[in-house]
């Protein structure tokens, strides 16, 4: 199969490696009269990455992948976690630590469990955020953004 999950990862890595090598080549000649230039090492690393990628792609194409069981359930929770972290970072300064963190922790608790006992989970979220605030701001002197400045 040309496009299973591992192959996609390898193709993306190969594309990034090629992009890296092209950028490295654009830095100039790898060797000058004074010795090695800033382009030399990245060219070496980019080329090595492409070689390793190619070896892995060839290995994957040669070996037949194990067929996935038909009843296997695909989990996409990790993608939702990535989205939650992204939105949390975006909202961190505008909404302040308390509001953004409470929503973030609540969302993660739901993602790692189910949509039951929402009130209890909301209370746990606020408690966690409060304890973390005390730890960061009071104990370790870290200034966290708040809505009141």
């Amino acid at each position: 199969m040309l496009l299973n999950r591992q192959m996609v990862f390898l193709y993306v890595t190969l594309a990034v490696s090629v992009g890296y090598l092209v950028t490295a080549l654009s830095l100039g000649a790898p060797i000058a009269e004074s010795g090695l230039t800033p382009a030399f090492f990245p060219i070496l690393v980019g080329a090595a990455a492409i070689v390793f990628c190619s070896v892995l792609i060839l290995q994957a194409l040669r070996d037949r992948p194990e067929p996935a069981p038909e009843d296997a359930i695909r989990s996409y929770t990790h993608l939702w976690v990535v989205v939650a972290i992204f939105l949390y970072i975006v909202a961190f300064k505008p909404l302040g630590y308390f509001l953004s963190s409470s929503l973030f922790v609540f969302a993660l608790i739901l993602l790692f469990s189910n949509f039951e006992k929402l009130v209890l989970k909301a209370i746990i979220s606020v408690a966690i955020v409060g304890v973390a605030f005390v730890m960061f701001q009071q104990l370790f002197g870290v200034r966290l953004p708040t809505l009141w400045g």
Partner: protein, 509 residues
């Protein structure tokens, strides 16, 4: 000798309530993280890394040392009681520990594990204290070309140590090296791979790399896991009853295990620890294998022989001392935890390397004192005081646990620069590390590539500049030639020569 006195005089710092609190807190947190299957002491240290900004360097390093020691022995708790190693280094402990638990001797097995850990940790720390100053003096003899060959040796060994997945390890190392090249060039005023983002001019900070690689990637891994072992582990844990009085191993059993077994396992663990990328699991595996090989009754291993527990735990705790040798003397971390310790030094403006032991001995000595203190005092004390309750920590709610880890990780990455850019960077690194892990790529090689990359490049360019571009300089300089030869020896033993099969360890493979 001065350094040894300095270390022992540093024990007075442990009388300071603040230092003692952080050392004890670090040990307890390290034990909890190591005991919970899926979590590691590395994750604990990654989460606590941002907090080291607000601590003195001595206190931060002392806390790191106690987390490290706790991380190596904490995994044995669940390995013995419910047959789920809390940490990879306790995998071999489960082979004999769980059968003892099934025979009703679980507490005794925990006692043997604590004794082995205590002995291994103490011997490892003492060897480190005795050997590190000499290695540091020797390291001063290594010149520029030798430094390049040494770094290349470390990186190559980390890659080839991943038997069966060398191309994956090689690619991961290249990704780490790519990340290391982002930002201002070390020798010329040129920015590379910043693509117009001024935030990248100073390069990619170590903090988001560590938090992303170990904390965020772990949360994503757990989120994508289809099998939740925590429920099964909690159910098993609730059935286990442990009494304090059963912890003490009888003298007759200790004599039967033999001082030789403890000491040999310590030496194996210590020397394995000095190798980059080897880690506690390899140390305990080799020590266990050697003990089985030398035993007059090898058929009893895997069925509840305390000697197996003693060998495994002595070795994995001795690894702590060994892994610090290359980190302190050459700035080469032996495993992820020493990589984070290196991060603590770097974020406090201290340059690890050959001069570290000479210039900053006053900072390093308390850390080694804390390592020894953790092994000799905290391991037995923790087991005695809270051992009977530790098994219950696997019952902790997974949803709350991972929400807390994610919160600490993301907010922690904000602490360094008070910028959301670092938070995005940590998320990016977490996603990268998650997909690397998911596809069988060892992230430790990526991390070492990232950490060693800048020096590797700098020493390569300086070496060739000094030799007017002559590459034979790497084999004509004796220090460099030594490391080139050492690399070839390791390539022979790890890649070309096939490993021998040892009976009695089949279950661990």
């Amino acid at each position: 000798m001065d350094f040894v006195f300095l270390v022992f005089s540093s024990f007075s710092l442990l009388a300071d309530p603040v230092n003692l609190t952080y050392v004890i807190l670090g040990f307890v947190i390290g034990t909890i993280f190591a005991a919970i299957p899926g979590l590691t002491a590395t994750l604990a240290m990654a989460l606590l890394l941002p907090l080291t900004y607000t601590l003195s360097v001595e206190t931060a390093l002392m806390a790191c040392a106690s987390i490290y020691m706790a991380g190596m022995c904490g995994g044995s708790i669940t390995a013995i009681t419910i047959n789920i190693p809390g940490a990879p280094s306790s995998m071999m402990t489960a082979l004999d520990g769980f059968p003892m638990q099934q025979k009703g001797k679980g507490a005794l097995a925990l006692g043997h594990a604590a004794l082995g850990s205590m002995f291994g940790g103490a011997v490892g720390a003492l060897l480190l204290i005795a050997v590190a100053p000499f290695v540091a003096e020797l390291s001063l003899l290594v010149k520029t070309t030798g430094k390049f060959s040494l770094l290349a040796f470390a990186l190559i060994v980390v890659v080839i140590a991943q038997r069966g997945r060398i191309p994956q390890a090689g690619l991961a190392a290249c990704i780490g090296l790519m990340l290391a090249t982002v930002g201002l060039d070390a020798m010329e005023p040129i920015t590379r791979f910043t693509y117009g983002y001024s935030s990248l001019t100073a390069g990619i900070d170590l903090m988001p790399v560590i938090i992303g690689t170990f904390a965020i990637a772990e949360v994503l891994t757990q989120a994508s896991a289809r099998i939740d072992i925590s429920a099964a582990a909690a159910a098993a844990a609730n059935k286990v009853k442990i009494r304090r009085r059963d912890f003490l191993p009888p003298l007759s059993e200790i004599r039967k295990i033999g001082f030789g077994c403890y000491f040999k396992s310590c030496l194996i663990g210590y020397f394995v620890g000095t190798l980059p990328g080897a880690g506690g699991s390899m140390g305990s595996f080799l020590a266990y294998t050697e003990t089985v090989r030398n035993s007059s009754e090898p058929e009893t291993f895997g069925k509840g022989n305390p000697q197996g527990i003693a060998a495994s735990e002595s070795a994995n705790n001795a690894v702590c001392g060994g892994a610090m040798v290359p980190m302190l003397t050459f700035g080469i971390p032996g495993d992820p935890i020493t990589a984070i310790m290196l991060g603590v030094l770097v974020i406090n403006g201290i340059q690890p390397g050959p001069q570290l032991m000479a210039d900053q001995a006053g900072l390093i000595a308390p850390m080694l004192a804390a390592l020894l203190f953790s092994a000799v005092v905290l391991i037995p004390l923790t087991l005695w005081l809270i051992g009977p309750y530790f098994i219950k920590i696997v019952s902790v709610r997974k949803d709350v646990l991972y929400a807390v880890i994610a919160l600490l990780a993301v907010v922690g990455s904000f602490v360094a620069t008070y910028s959301t850019f670092q938070m995005f960077m940590a998320l990016g690194m977490g996603v990268l590390a998650f997909y690397l892990r998911r596809n069988g790529f060892p992230v430790i090689t990526m991390l070492l590539g990232y950490i060693l990359g800048p020096n590797l490049e700098e020493f390569l360019r300086r070496s060739l500049a000094l030799s007017n571009g002559d590459p034979t300089t790497f084999v004509t300089n004796p220090d460099s030639l030594f490391f080139v030869a050492l690399t070839l020896v390791f390539v022979y033993f790890l890649v070309i020569r096939k490993p021998a099969n040892t009976p009695g360890t089949a279950k661990a493979k």
